[in-house]
């Protein structure tokens, strides 16, 4: 079982996490390599989403929680005191399960993050819009309606807009929490396609919405069950030759 690699982008060390005394993650340790797609998969309630939200400290917004262990980004503990949380979240972008365009136009959505980060220059903003939408494979579809309401886009377009919105900040890591769960197969294919492009430049962690998707997109995959990391293997071996009986049962569709 693989947990430690050289020069990981993210190192998760003995992380346990509880909401209101109820443990949702138990002693999870794993390394996430740079410039690859790592999938966290497993049945619902396994703690995958929680782990994602711990990496960019989004769970700071939730009250009554308890965290032990460390999460290192480029060797730096993201929970160290004095960490600039806003800057951390710019380095670690996130896309949610449901497309959540902010109120406003397509352009405003893309520029929301950069503007907060202090980007005032018009031409730089224009560059960001074009680059992010291209990277998210959305440019061709929306280039004529940049100033139309984001809510008028289709579900698949909205989700790619959300990806573009994260990319606008040029993050180092992109966290995707079931990014295709609400989408039709064609849109799903488009999103997955863009992931293959994106991993050249970004470290991507995805919680896929099915084992099949995990098998399609993942360079590495980790299987989570009820808050524990059961198995973590590089490449797609976990889907073909799982070591653990529980992993095997899950990937062959016996439960979950």
């Amino acid at each position: 079982m693989l947990t430690e690699i050289a020069n990981p982008k993210i190192r998760i060390e003995h992380v346990s996490y509880a909401y209101d005394g109820e443990e949702v993650l138990r002693d999870v340790t794993l390394d996430v390599p740079a410039n690859a797609v790592t999938a966290f998969f497993g049945p619902a309630g396994g703690g995958k989403t929680t782990l994602l939200r711990l990496i960019n400290r989004l769970n700071d917004l939730v009250e009554g929680t308890h965290l032990t262990g460390q999460i290192l980004l480029d060797g730096q503990d993201v929970y160290a005191t004095g960490t600039n949380i806003a800057r951390l979240r710019r380095r670690v972008g996130m896309v949610f399960a449901l497309p959540l365009p902010l109120p406003g136009t397509v352009r405003e959505n893309v520029l929301y993050g950069p503007r907060l980060a202090g980007e005032r220059d018009r031409s730089r903003q224009e560059e960001i819009v074009v680059r992010s939408l291209r990277q998210a494979a959305l440019w061709d579809e929306v280039k004529d309606r940049l100033d139309g309401p984001a809510s008028a886009l289709s579900g698949g377009q909205q989700q790619r807009l959300c990806i573009a919105r994260s990319l606008a900040l040029e993050p180092e890591v992109l966290l995707l929490d079931e990014p295709t769960s609400g989408l039709d197969p064609i849109s799903t294919a488009k999103v997955e396609e863009s992931l293959l492009e994106l991993k050249q430049h970004y470290t991507i962690i995805i919680v896929p919405h099915s084992v099949q998707q995990a098998a399609r997109v993942a360079d590495h995959a980790a299987f989570f069950l009820m808050g524990a990391l059961i198995e973590y293997q590089p490449g797609k071996r976990i889907f073909t030759t799982p070591h653990d009986k529980r992993t095997e049962d899950y990937v062959t569709g016996r439960f979950g």
């Binding site: 960019n56 989004l58 917004l61 009250e63 806003a86 800057r87 979240r89 710019r90 972008g93 996130m94 949610f96 449901l98 959540l100 902010l102 109120p103 929301y112 993050g113 907060l116 980060a117 309401p149 809510s151 959300c162 919105r165 994260s166 900040l169």
Partner: protein, 286 residues
């Protein structure tokens, strides 16, 4: 069987009849009040009535200073109440954790809303007029009305803020926004129509109140416009009270006209609030 079930439906018919009757008993008097005041007051309303000073012991002339006074008092109350009201709502909706102190704030708001208006009057007299030596003045009256309006503005604004989906805040945070940036850029603009509605509802209550201004600002008869916040002023609700109870031989039409002016002012604000609310509710994207 047949008979039992038909009796059940007779009972049902009677029951529904009673409910309809009750609803009519609620609605008809409202129509009666509004209708009577409009019908009997409309004859008194004309440009002169609305824009000139009262003359002849208020039996003739207009109600201009009372209208101006009420507008000034309402405006003053708004200026003082909005920062506290909206700020408090932001605190409760976006920052406060569920502690006993937060619950104490909520209880305080409920109680502020329940304190009788005349007690606000006493308080204004004790604190603003006498203790702080503002005297009987627009300043004292506005501040009294502001505190009275505060609970309405806080509760309606908080409701509007809470109605904005939690996800917007999460998204904003995930894009590197701080808590306040999320509030300022996303939550507040989305909640604004609801907040404005709440402010208007608070203000129309303030504008229509008489008891809190009785001893803090209202002048019985003052046929000139106030020059500073420390002046007294006439006000529409108090003027109506005065001419209908304190002045013998007052022409009934002038009384109805004054009542109509006050009612129209308050109800038009009410309509504005309703329109804002329904317009934005239809337009918003969530």
């Amino acid at each position: 069987m047949q008979e039992i079930s038909s009796r059940r439906y007779v009972v049902q018919r009677i029951g529904f009849g009673v409910l309809v009757l009750a609803a009519l008993l609620v609605v008809l008097p409202i129509l009666l009040v509004v209708g009577a005041i409009i019908l009997k007051g409309i004859g008194a309303i004309n440009w002169e009535f609305l824009t000139t000073m009262p003359r002849d012991g208020m039996k003739a002339g207009g109600i201009f200073p009372a209208i101006v006074g009420t507008l000034l008092l309402t405006l003053g109350a708004a200026l003082a109440a909005i920062p506290f009201g909206v700020g408090g709502a932001i605190y409760l909706s976006e920052y406060a954790r569920d502690t006993w102190l937060t619950r104490a704030i909520r209880l305080a708001i409920v109680n502020l809303a329940g304190i009788p208006s005349v007690v606000y009057g006493l308080f204004g007299l004790g604190l603003f007029v006498l203790f702080l030596r503002f005297g009987t003045s627009i300043l004292a009256g506005s501040l009294t009305l502001a505190i009275m309006t505060l609970p309405i503005i806080i509760s309606t604004s908080e409701e509007a803020l809470r109605a904005v989906p939690m996800e917007f805040r999460t998204v904003s945070a995930s894009l590197g926004g701080t808590r306040w940036q999320g509030i300022r850029n996303i939550v507040l603009p989305q909640a604004l129509p609801g907040i404005i509605t709440g402010v208007i509802l608070g203000l129309l209550r303030a504008g229509g109140e008489t008891a809190p201004i009785l001893f803090t600002v209202a002048a019985f008869f003052l046929p000139r416009l106030p020059q500073s916040p420390f002046d007294q002023t006439m006000a529409l609700p108090y003027h109506l009270y005065v001419i209908s109870t304190q002045v013998p031989g007052m022409p009934l039409q002038v009384q109805y006209g004054t009542a109509l002016a006050l009612l129209a002012l308050v109800l038009s604000l009410n309509v504005v609030a309703t329109v804002i609310r329904s317009y934005f509710r239809r337009r918003r994207q969530w």
